[in-house]
Symmetry: C2
Subunit: 432 residues, 2 copies
């Protein structure tokens, strides 16, 4: 059977998982695809650490460029991460005419135009199944499985760390800080968790999904991003009482050619399947104009699920190289559909608003008046506590309203003398 | 842009859906894949019926062979269904060297060896995404997305009619007969519903999934099939009280090289995501040794979801024809893994047993003794009604036991003089 050489850049957790699984299942994979991917070289700065996998020492090098330029290597797998050296090496590999497999969502989201531009110029391709939702084959499903569909919406739980934290806050009734610490102890959150909990990682993935869905590179700067740092248990509990669960959701919508891409804490109906996605799992609902609703679920990160996705790309690229159609297609069609991006002020949503109101006759009327002045109508109101003369939490759920109207309303509400603290706003998606 | 001619055999519900969606989204699809699929001919026995879609009358013909042999047609799409004329026409198309796209699960499950054999001989391929779980891209996910994985298990709700009936029985507390009639009125069940409710359709799909997962053609005759005709509301209600939902489940398992493929009413934990799949939706949980659990959900049948899957195959085959790699791969790798098929007696399961027992001291002891004699241990017992001297239902949930042992035990139990009616047995899957 024909063999193709694979070069690995980055021998960390995921890299070691790829090596381990290629050793374990390589024969089976070769039988399935009709060509054998053979790992030939691994580059990493640390050649000594034990990764729980045996490799011939002669395969290891500190010199990544020697891997890229090795003529026995046909496919370069980048698992270094980040937007620094990884960017430089991927561009080099593409320049050398070698297809690249990567799990690097940050790089593709922030420098996608450059990377995919280089790939198209050199007529090689970049494969990135592992960059969104780990082991879930969402890239293939969206690009090939749903090729017949205009994508009306994508709703994704795309960050396992955040979902683990929100699940703990909900189930074990702990604070955000407590849940974050638990996640760090369990190895589900980094020592510096900012990229995850501030929503950046989810936004990177949303950019890739939206770009695939609509055929143009959605700029990261046009994505509204709000993380989960500010979430309080109070709101999770109130929302639960009203039939909602709180998730950090990537929302991508196409309403008559106007696209919105946003990431923020979102209330979703408790009976919806996405609500039952807990812990480090990811899930993505994709709505196509032909197929209707579909949903994909699995582990979104970790050594093995990510290795599964990386190897699926290695397998496809080997099949293409072996059977001679490297020009078959590129990752993105780059055929921009007739769409334009909305800015955040233009989006419409239902809202959960928690205001801290003085418990005094007439005060709620003031709040309702402010909402009315901004064309926002109230769907329901909840006030559980009474404490005459003091501030109490009042929850208002609104009908669909424009974000810019809601911004203005919340500013007016927070300026009311009867309001004792900054109001909390959480967007609601009813998920059709 | 290059154009490729498509010939459609069968202008029924799904065929008309394919035509409609190719008209609506054809331009977009062509831009995405870089080649334009153009529908050139449609064969059907009925040229006059209104299908809710406009086609040039000159495209229609009663002569299917003229479509297959038309030199302007590169891809044949078979949407006639059944194992008669469809088989003959597919074999003809393959013989003529034309790739075939089909939604025909019955044909592929029952004559797969012949069809795929012919395809391999002629070096063309058969595409069948639409044959399992309608719009859900499960074939691509299993074959390409999870290529790195040994498949440990597949658990599928694969028949919308059955799931609709079981959901109604559960939610609206109606009998099987009532729910079936509702499904027929709603257009979700055929006038002759046998293929669906007797589990045959689910078994056809299970055969295709198992064949893909393990690389050999699993014979339909080796699949244990039990439908939902015998299901009573009583058992749905008792099971719900014990934390289970009843689903018609396709179960495919690989335990150390021993494969089991079976279809039967199954109790699954109520908190599992598959339990929340209701109505005509389908879902499939796939467990890979690398990726862990993944799940895929969507509409499993109907004009549009099926059209979405058919068109995804048309798109892929056009891309392959246009960019010159028709020999890239075949549907199945036919590299049988080191596995053998279990017969039903060898499988192991937990069981729900409802016995109709005389309410008299010592009778339950007799039942427990019989179970013990067959190496079956009891996990829990439920007896709600008391009616001294009469028969009452007693529910026993067992630990894991061998099917052949349980067969023997149930025969002994039904032979007890204190047992008033045939016992009910439902298998349980705890779904890890």
């Amino acid at each position: 059977m024909k063999e193709l050489g694979i070069g690995l850049l980055g021998f960390g957790t995921v890299g070691a998982g790829v090596v381990e699984e290629l050793q374990k299942n390589g024969e089976m994979i070769a039988n399935r695809i009709g060509v054998k991917p053979v790992l030939r070289k691994i580059a990493d700065v640390d050649l000594d650490r034990d990764r729980g996998v045996n490799v011939d020492r002669s395969m290891l090098t500190r010199d990544a460029e020697s891997v890229i330029n090795d003529p026995s290597i046909s496919v370069v797998v980048e698992l270094i991460g980040g937007t620094g050296i990884a960017r430089k090496l991927i561009l080099q590999a593409l320049k050398a005419g070698k297809p690249v497999v990567t799990a690097n969502k940050a790089l593709l989201a922030e420098h996608g135009a450059e990377i995919f531009g280089q790939a198209a110029e050199r007529k090689v391709d970049v494969w990135f199944e592992a960059s969104v939702a780990g082991g879930i084959p969402i890239i293939r499903s969206l690009r090939e499985g749903l090729v017949a569909n205009r994508i009306n919406g994508i709703y994704g739980i795309l960050n396992g760390t955040c979902n683990y934290i929100l699940s703990s806050m909900d189930k074990e009734q702990v604070t955000f800080e407590h849940a974050l610490k638990d996640a760090q102890v369990a190895g589900y959150a980094e020592a510096d968790p900012a990229l995850d909990i501030d929503g950046i990682d989810t936004a990177h993935k949303a950019v890739l999904l939206a770009s695939l869905a609509y055929g143009f590179h959605v700029p990261m700067s046009d994505v509204y991003v709000e993380g989960i740092r500010g979430i309080s248990r109070t709101d999770i509990e109130y929302a639960r009482g009203m039939g909602y669960k709180l998730k950090l959701l990537a929302v991508i919508k196409n309403e008559s050619g106007e696209i919105e891409v946003r990431v923020h804490p979102t209330l979703i109906p408790v009976e919806h399947m996405l609500s039952s996605v807990s812990g480090v799992y990811n899930a993505i609902q994709v709505e196509g104009d032909v197929v209707g609703q579909t949903l994909y679920y699995g582990r979104g990160a970790g050594r093995y699920p990510t290795a599964s996705a990386v190897i699926s790309d290695i397998a496809d690229v080997c099949r293409e190289l072996a059977f001679g159609d490297i020009k078959r297609r590129y990752s993105f069609s780059w055929q921009k559909e007739e769409v334009k991006l909305k800015n955040m002020g233009q989006i419409e949503s239902r809202y959960y608003l928690r205001a801290s109101l003085l418990d005094k006759p007439g005060v709620f009327g003031q709040l309702a008046t402010v909402l009315g002045q901004h064309q926002i109508s109230i769907a329901s109101v909840l006030q559980k506590e009474r404490h005459a003369g003091k501030q109490v939490p009042v929850i208002v759920v609104t009908d669909r309203a424009k974000e810019s109207d809601f911004d203005a309303a919340i500013a007016d509400i927070d300026a009311m003398s009867a309001v004792g603290a900054k109001s909390v706003r959480i967007r609601i998606e009813d998920l059709g």
